[in-house]
Subunit: 419 residues, 2 copies
Amino acid sequence: MSLIVQKYGGTSMGSPERIREVARRVQRFVKEGHQVVVVVSAMSGETNRLLGLARELNPDADPRELDVIASTGEQVTIGLLAIALHKLGLKARSYTGFQVRILTDDAYSKARILSIDEANIRKDLAEGNVVVVAGFQGMDAKGNITTLGRGGSDTTGVALAAALKADECQIYTDVDGVYTTDPRVVPEARRLETITFEEMLELASLGSKVLQIRSVEFAGKYKVKLRVLSSFTDVNSTDMGTLITFEEDDTMEQAIISGIAFNRDEAKITVMGVPDKPGIAYSILGPVADANIDVDMIIQNASSDGTTDFSFTVHRNEYKRALQVLESKVKGEIGARAIVGDDRIAKVSLVGIGMRTHAGIASLMFKTLAEERINIQMISTSEIKTSVVVDEKYMELAVRVLHRAFELDQPPTEEHLKP
Amino acid sequence: MSLIVQKYGGTSMGSPERIREVARRVQRFVKEGHQVVVVVSAMSGETNRLLGLARELNPDADPRELDVIASTGEQVTIGLLAIALHKLGLKARSYTGFQVRILTDDAYSKARILSIDEANIRKDLAEGNVVVVAGFQGMDAKGNITTLGRGGSDTTGVALAAALKADECQIYTDVDGVYTTDPRVVPEARRLETITFEEMLELASLGSKVLQIRSVEFAGKYKVKLRVLSSFTDVNSTDMGTLITFEEDDTMEQAIISGIAFNRDEAKITVMGVPDKPGIAYSILGPVADANIDVDMIIQNASSDGTTDFSFTVHRNEYKRALQVLESKVKGEIGARAIVGDDRIAKVSLVGIGMRTHAGIASLMFKTLAEERINIQMISTSEIKTSVVVDEKYMELAVRVLHRAFELDQPPTEEHLKP
C-alpha cells in the first residue's frame, strides 16, 4: 500500500461530468489498495469569473479581500468531489486550507506555505477516507485567508506530499506528460518517461507551462517524487506520464539533452556606448530594479574604444516602461550614446543535465542555427542549459531544426546516455 | 454614536451594481457617525446554482459537503462588499463565519448558533472599520463548516446584534416593511410602523416571508431591536420601514389586529368514526410523528354515537405520505370508519396582540366570512391569533373581506388602540 497525493487542475474539474471522471480515477487507486489524498483546483474559468466581479467593483482591489473571494473556487470543488466519491461508495472528507491548517505567510495572492498540520488527514486516511484538500489556499498566522498565486494548487499538492511523506505526487493535467518540446511546433516531439528536477526547473522557467515552477522547486527541496500525467485518458489506463526524478537516481536512462524550451515573452534592450568602467551594470540595472522590472538575460560586450554595449531582456509587458526608465534616469547619468530595443525576439533554450559532462553541445547548437541562416542575437548559458535570442520570426524554425539535430524524436540510445 | 448591524439579502447583493448601492448605504450610516457591522447573503441565485451542481453529482449528497459548498456564496459577497467599501474610501474588513468564530452545533444545513466570539469585530470597529460578516454560516466545535439553513443570514444578523449589544439590527430586503397582509392580494394593505415580536412570530410562521422565523425568535430572546426595511429605496431615504418592538414597550400605538397571514401550504386529513376514548389522539398522531411528518392544526369533534371525527393538517408535501401511514398503520388498529383528506385548502389567520384583551374578534371574523358564504372547515386559536381553514379557492376573497372588516387599511385610531 502506498500513500499517493493526486492533484487535479481546473480543466480536470471543469464540470460535474469531469468531476465524476476524477472520482472514478481516484476509486481505481483506492481499489488497488492505496491511500489517496486529492488536491483540487477550482473549476476552469471560475477564479477568473470571481476576480472579474471584484475588478468590476474596484480595479485596484485589496489583496486580502481578493484572496477571500478567489479561495471559494476550490472550496466548491472539494465539496463536489467528496460528493462524487460518496456516490461511488467511497468514504471521503473535504478540507479547506483553513481546516487542514496550511499555514502561510501573509503575502496575499502569492503566499508561501510555512507549515502543514497533517494530523487530521492522517487520522482520516487511517479510517479509510479519501481526503480531498483545496489547492491554492491557506491561512496566515492571524487566521486570514491567503492564496498561493496562479498554479498554486500544484504547490499545495507537493507540499502535502512532503508533509505526509507520500510515495508519489501525481499532477493530473490536460497534457499527458513532459515533451522534448511543444508538439504544436514540432510534431515529432517525444514524451519523456523521466526528466530530472533541474531540467524540469529550467523547462518550467523557460516557458513550458506543464508545472508551476514553485511546485517543482518545492518537490526538489523535499525530495517528493513527482509525476505529470493526463486526467483525460481512460481511468484504467496504465500510461504513467512523465516521472520527475532526482539527478542522483542514476538507474534512469538519461539523455544529454532532455528538451527545448522557447518563448516570445521577452524584449531586448541595449544601452550603447557606455563607458567601460566598474559599477556600470548597477548604474543601468539599479533604476530598472527600482521600477520593479525583472531582468532575465544580461550581456555585456567589451569593445576596443573604452566603451561597451550593455544588453538585457525584460518581459515584453515591461518593455515600454523599461525604455522610459532608461531614457529618463540612466542615459544622461552615464553618458550612453543610445538606447535601442527590440520586442520582436524569441528565446530558444536547450536543456539537459548531460551538458555538464558533454562538450560540443553549444557548438552543435550554433552550427545548426547557422546552417539555417538564423542570426543569434544573445547567448546565455547555465550548467544545464544554453539559451539563444533570435528574431521571433525564426523561433519555430529554430526549435524544429534543433529538435532534429539533437535527435530528440528518438528515444535515448547508449550513445546519448550519461556516462 | 450607535452600533448598527445591517443585514442585506440576496437580491440586495445580486450584482456588482447592487453591491455598490449597498456600499453607499453603509457609507451614509458611517458618515452619520455610526459603527456598522454588515451581514450579507450570497448573490441571489448563487446558493441554488451551487447546490444544483452538487445534486447533479449526487441527489442524496452528504450534508457536511453541501455546507462546504453552499457557504462559499457568502464568502464571495463579503469580499466584494469590502472591496466596494474601500472604493468609497471606507476602511472595511471581511469575516467568514469561521473567522469570526460563529460556533454552531453540528446539524449541517440547519445548524444553530451556540456562541459568537465578538472580540475581533469589536477591535476592528474601534479602529474605524466597517466589519462585513458572511451570513448563513458558522463552524462546529470540530472546525467543520456549517450553514444555518435558508434565511439563516437574518439569524446571523440578529445573533451578531445580540452578541455586540447593538443598538439596532436592520434587515434590508426587497420589501419596505411588514404589511397588514400581502399587497399582491389586497392592494390596500398598509405598511405597519411597528409590530410586536409575538405578532411577527405568528405572521412569520403563518407564511409571511419577510423575516425568517428563527431570527425573530432570537431577536425576542435577546431583546434585539429589529427593523425591516428596503435596500431599493434611495440611499438617503429617511423611510425607516417597520420596527419590531417588545410588547411591554407600550409607548407604541398598537392596533388590536396587526395583520392577516395566509398560506396554501397545508392539507387536511380527517379520520372518521373513531371510538371516542382516551389515548385516541396518540394512536392516530403517534405513527404520523414516527414518520417524521409535522402536524399543524388538530381538531377533535365529539359526536353523539360514541365515535368522533379527528382532523389535522400537515404540509401539502407530506399529504400523500400521511394518508399512507394512516391507511396502513392506524385505520385497522383503531377501527376507524374512513380516512378522508383534502389538499385544496387554505389557512387564513388574523394576528394581533389586542386579541388578548378584546372580545368579539373571532365572531366578527366568522360573521364576515359567513356573509361571503365562505365555509369554515377548521378553526384554531391562540392567544394572539385566530386561524380558519377554508377551501383554497376562497383564500384571496377571505383575506380581502377580513382586511376591510377589520379596517386594516386605516392607521390605528383611538378606538383600535390597546387600553
